[in-house]
Symmetry: C2
Subunit: 142 residues, 2 copies
DNA sequence: CAGAGGATGATAGTCATTCTCAAAACTCTG
DNA sequence: CAGAGTTTTGAGAATGACTATCATCCTCTG
């Protein structure tokens, strides 16, 4: 895993500094996508501007994925699926903005892939990934 | 349709002014969600602040739905599905941010509803709606 | 017509995110 | 280890989508 991260960084002429390793470690330990404030709190002494700069760069080289749910709210970050090798989707609370992971049934995944193939043929889009969000209110907000 | 819009506005103590009717008309004619600049261009002489204010209000009373794809990019607006009576999903270009509509197969819709039921039971979330985006590059950007 | 309540639009404010740049921390050679 | 060259960091300024403000304008009712 560390291996592959170093590899992807190298492909973009970037190094795995201790700040970046700390960011990745925080995300690796969480079972859900985290916001910048959450990451900052977990990591401790890393400047906000550095968190943003490094996460943006880590996204460009394919180590990290940015999850946007509502505008004007903090984005959430997680490791990319091909690093964790765990394809999943999101359960989003429209009250507090929190995000949790869930795994879809293989029937659901198959249906989405079918749809993607069909739509790609018809529309001329090149489809790279899909996104399935279930949106509602978490126990706290309900 | 105009009927139902007036009804929803009234429920929120709001009237259907000519500005609001113009906004709704622009959205009703489009086959895809539009950004604020697009709506402004289509409508002509309506102040940007009024477009924002009215769309926000129309969203609160359930006439309009705001579609957020990337942060720092314009949101897109469309009429709510229970006004158009046309449940659909989105094909999003990660290059230029454009959004198109597509209709999912009933098999896909069934699978999502199943997943929602199962996840709701397990997690305690109250799930209100689902979102399926296919993300890739449009013919222009590819 | 007067007056009250709401709608409009120009502009100022907010806030997540990005940019800037000087200082600090590496890296590499000798 | 020194010291030059390069990269990264951090504090604060800048950006830009969006929201709040408020004086003015409309639209009703009586
Ligand atoms: Zn919540
Ligand atoms: Zn999936
Ligand atoms: Zn495009
Ligand atoms: Zn659906």
């Amino acid at each position: 895993m560390r291996e592959r991260i170093v590899g992807r960084l190298a492909r973009g002429d970037q190094r795995l500094t201790s700040s970046r390793e700390a960011l990745v470690a925080v995300l690796a330990v969480s079972d859900r996508p985290l916001t910048i404030p959450e990451i900052g709190a977990a990591d401790g002494g890393l400047a906000v501007s550095s968190i943003y700069r490094n996460l943006t760069m880590l996204e460009e080289v394919g180590v990290v994925h940015r999850v946007v749910t509502a505008s004007g709210d903090f984005a959430h970050y997680e490791l990319t699926e091909d690093l964790t090798e765990h394809h999943h989707h999101h359960l989003v609370c429209s009250g507090c903005g929190s995000v949790e992971d869930f795994e879809a049934s293989s029937q659901l995944e198959d249906s989405v892939r079918d749809a993607a193939r069909r739509i790609a043929r018809r529309s001329g889009f090149r489809i790279d990934r899909h996104l399935i969000d279930l949106i509602g209110l978490c126990p706290n907000c309900a």
